[in-house]
C-alpha cells in the first residue's frame, strides 16, 4: 500500500480525533499539544486548551515548542498562576480530558516518566520526571495518551510508577480516590489501545491502515490482547493532513 502520510501523522491525526466532543483539554507539551491543536483546527474548533504554564483557552496559530511560549498567553482567554491552574482548575475536576505522553506505559496504562532500570551494573537512567502528569491523570474526566509503539515504551512492568492509570486493575482508581475514568485510549503510530471494560487491561481495538495485529504485538512488551476484529482507522483526510503540516511548518518557522 502506498501512502502519502507517515506513521507519526497517523498517530497525531487519530489522537486529534480522540478529542471529538471534548470541551476542555489539559495539554501536555509535544505530541499531545500537536494533537490538541490539530483538533482545534479540524473537527473541534471550540476545544478549550489548558496548559500547565497557566493559560486557559489558548488559541495558538503555530505549534508551541515549549509549554510557556508567549503565544499561549497572548491568545488565551485567561492567564493564571501555576498554583491556581493546578489547584482551582485541574484539582477541582473542571477539565474534561487530560492528554499525556509517556516514556513507559504498562498494560494498565500506568506511566513511568521518572527513571529507567538499566540493569544491576548500571546506574538508573534518568527521565524528566513527573511534571503535571500524576494530577492530570488523577483529576481529569478522562485521559488520552499518545506515544510511539515499541517494546521499549510498552513494557511488561514499569521501572517506576510516576502516574497511575488503572493501577493494578478494576476498582483501583476508586480505591485510591482518583477521580474520573482514567485512561480511555492510547494512541500510537500503529493503532489504538483501549482498556477492556471488565479487566481494565489495554486491548488493541484499532489498527492504522496497513498495520497488522502481529506488528503491534511485536512492538508491545506484554502479551497484548487484540479485539476479535480490530477496526481499521480512517486514513487521514486531505484536510487533516494539510492542517497538521501547516501547524508544524508554522511552528518550525517561528522557532
Amino acid at each position: 500500500m502506498t501512502t502519502d502520510w507517515t506513521p507519526d501523522e497517523l498517530m497525531t491525526v487519530n489522537a486529534a480525533r480522540a478529542l471529538a466532543g471534548a470541551g476542555t483539554c489539559f495539554v501536555g507539551i509535544g505530541l499531545p499539544s500537536t494533537a490538541a491543536n490539530l483538533a482545534r483546527r479540524t473537527h473541534n474548533p471550540d476545544l478549550v486548551l489548558i496548559y500547565e504554564s497557566g493559560t486557559l483557552g489558548s488559541k495558538p496559530t503555530r505549534l508551541p515548542l515549549s509549554i510557556g511560549d508567549g503565544e499561549l498567553a497572548e491568545t488565551a482567554d485567561a492567564v493564571v498562576s501555576v498554583p491556581e491552574i493546578f489547584n482551582y482548575w485541574l484539582q477541582a475536576g473542571r477539565i474534561d480530558v487530560g492528554f499525556l505522553g509517556a516514556a513507559q506505559v504498562d498494560r494498565y496504562a500506568n506511566i513511568n516518566t521518572s527513571v529507567i532500570d538499566r540493569g544491576p551494573d548500571r546506574p538508573e537512567g534518568r527521565l524528566p520526571g513527573a511534571g503535571g502528569a500524576p494530577e492530570i491523570a488523577a483529576n481529569c474526566g478522562r485521559v488520552l495518551m499518545v506515544l510511539r509503539h515499541s517494546t521499549r515504551n510498552f513494557v511488561r512492568k514499569l521501572d517506576f510508577t510516576t502516574t497511575v492509570g488503572h493501577g493494578s486493575g478494576p476498582g483501583d482508581r476508586a480505591r485510591l480516590g482518583l477521580r474520573g475514568a482514567g485512561p480511555t485510549a492510547v494512541l500510537t503510530d500503529l493503532g489504538i489501545l483501549r482498556p477492556d471494560p471488565d479487566t481494565a487491561e489495554l486491548v488493541l481495538t484499532d489498527l492504522h491502515p496497513g498495520v497488522t495485529v502481529e506488528q503491534v504485538r511485536e512492538a508491545t512488551g506484554w502479551e497484548l490482547t487484540a479485539a476479535p476484529e480490530p477496526a481499521v482507522t480512517e486514513p487521514p483526510t486531505p484536510e487533516e493532513l494539510a492542517a497538521l503540516r501547516a501547524l508544524k511548518a508554522a511552528g518550525r518557522n517561528a522557532a
Binding site: S66, G70, E74, P83, E124, P128, P134
Partner: protein, 272 residues
C-alpha cells in the same frame, strides 16, 4: 525597600555558598543572567529549587555548583533531555546530585505553603505514585471534618529567590506580566529576593495579567536588559528556540560544555 544595584554586587551579597536558591520563571522570564553571574562568582554547594530545571540549571549543575536539586520536571522543553543534569544524576559528574523530586502540583503547593509561611500544604496528589517513596517531603493528613486522607507537602522556603521581570521603578517596585508562573510564591517564600529587570522606568504602568511585587517585599533590583535570554520577556523579546535546540549537542558532551562555559560565561564580565 529594594536597592537598585549591579548584578555583580547583588549576587555577591544575596547568594551565598550553601544556600537554598530558587530561580523561577515558567519558560518565560527565566533569570539566566543572574545564574551566569553565580557561575562566574563560583558560588557553590547550592540546593537549587525549580519546578522545571530547564537549561538554566543544566548550566549550574554542569558547572559543579549544585549539591541538591528540588524539582518536578527536568527536560529541555520541546527538545529532549538535560544532559548535564542526567550526567550528574547517572554518573555523578562533575559531582553527585541529590534529588528531591515532586509533581508540578506538589511543587506549586510547596511554594504556596512557603509564601503563606505555613509548614505544609494539602492537595489531592501523589496517590498510587512511587514518588513519595523517594522523598521525605510528601506525607498525608486526614481531614478533621470528613476523615478523608489527603497528600501533604512540606513548605519550601529558599534562602534566596531570583526572578526576572520586565520592569521596576526607581523605588524598587517590580512589575511582571504575561505568564507569571509561580514567581510570586517563590519570591514571597524566600528570605531574600533578587529581581533582574529589563528596564527601570519612571512609573510602572500596570498591565493586564500583571503582578506587582512592592519594593518592601524585594531585597535588590538589578537592571539587566535581555537577562532572561535564551528564555524571553514578553513585550521585550521572544524565546530563542534555536538556542534551546543548540544546547542539546553542547550539553551532551562534557568537553563541549566546558568550552561553552569558558567562552560564554567565565570569559565574559557581568558589567552590564
Amino acid at each position: 525597600m529594594a536597592d537598585i544595584r549591579s548584578l555583580r554586587d547583588a549576587v555577591a551579597d544575596l547568594v551565598r555558598s550553601g544556600d537554598t536558591v530558587a530561580m523561577e520563571g515558567f519558560t518565560h522570564l527565566i533569570p539566566f543572567a543572574a545564574a551566569h553571574e553565580i557561575i562566574r562568582q563560583g558560588i557553590t554547594d547550592l540546593t537549587l529549587v525549580r519546578m522545571t530545571p530547564d537549561v538554566i540549571y543544566d548550566q549550574l549543575i554542569g558547572a559543579g555548583l549544585v549539591k541538591k536539586l528540588i524539582f518536578s520536571w527536568g527536560g529541555n522543553p520541546g527538545v529532549g533531555s538535560l544532559h548535564r543534569f542526567r550526567d550528574a544524576v547517572e554518573n555523578g559528574w562533575p559531582r553527585p546530585l541529590e534529588l528531591d523530586e515532586h509533581s508540578h502540583a506538589g511543587m506549586a503547593n510547596r511554594y504556596v505553603a512557603g509564601a503563606s509561611r505555613l509548614p505544609f500544604a494539602v492537595l489531592r496528589g501523589y496517590r498510587g505514585s512511587d514518588i513519595p517513596d523517594r522523598t521525605d517531603t510528601v506525607s498525608t493528613v486526614v481531614c478533621p471534618f470528613t476523615g478523608e486522607e489527603l497528600a501533604a507537602v512540606r513548605a519550601v522556603n529558599p534562602d534566596v529567590t531570583v526572578i526576572h521581570a520586565q520592569q521596576a521603578d526607581r523605588q524598587g517596585n517590580v512589575h511582571l506580566w504575561g505568564l507569571t508562573g509561580v514567581q510570586k510564591e517563590a519570591a514571597l517564600a524566600a528570605d531574600r529576593v533578587l529581581v533582574t529587570v529589563e528596564e527601570i522606568v519612571d512609573e510602572l504602568q500596570p498591565r493586564p495579567t500583571g503582578i506587582t511585587l512592592p519594593s518592601w517585599a524585594v531585597t535588590a533590583v538589578v537592571p539587566v536588559p535581555d537577562g532572561a535570554h535564551p528564555s524571553y520577556a514578553s513585550g521585550y523579546s521572544v524565546r530563542d528556540n534555536d538556542f534551546y535546540q543548540a544546547w542539546d549537542p553542547i550539553s551532551r558532551d562534557r568537553e563541549a560544555f566546558q568550552t561553552w562555559l569558558k567562552e560564554n560565561i567565565h570569559d565574559r564580565s557581568a558589567d552590564r
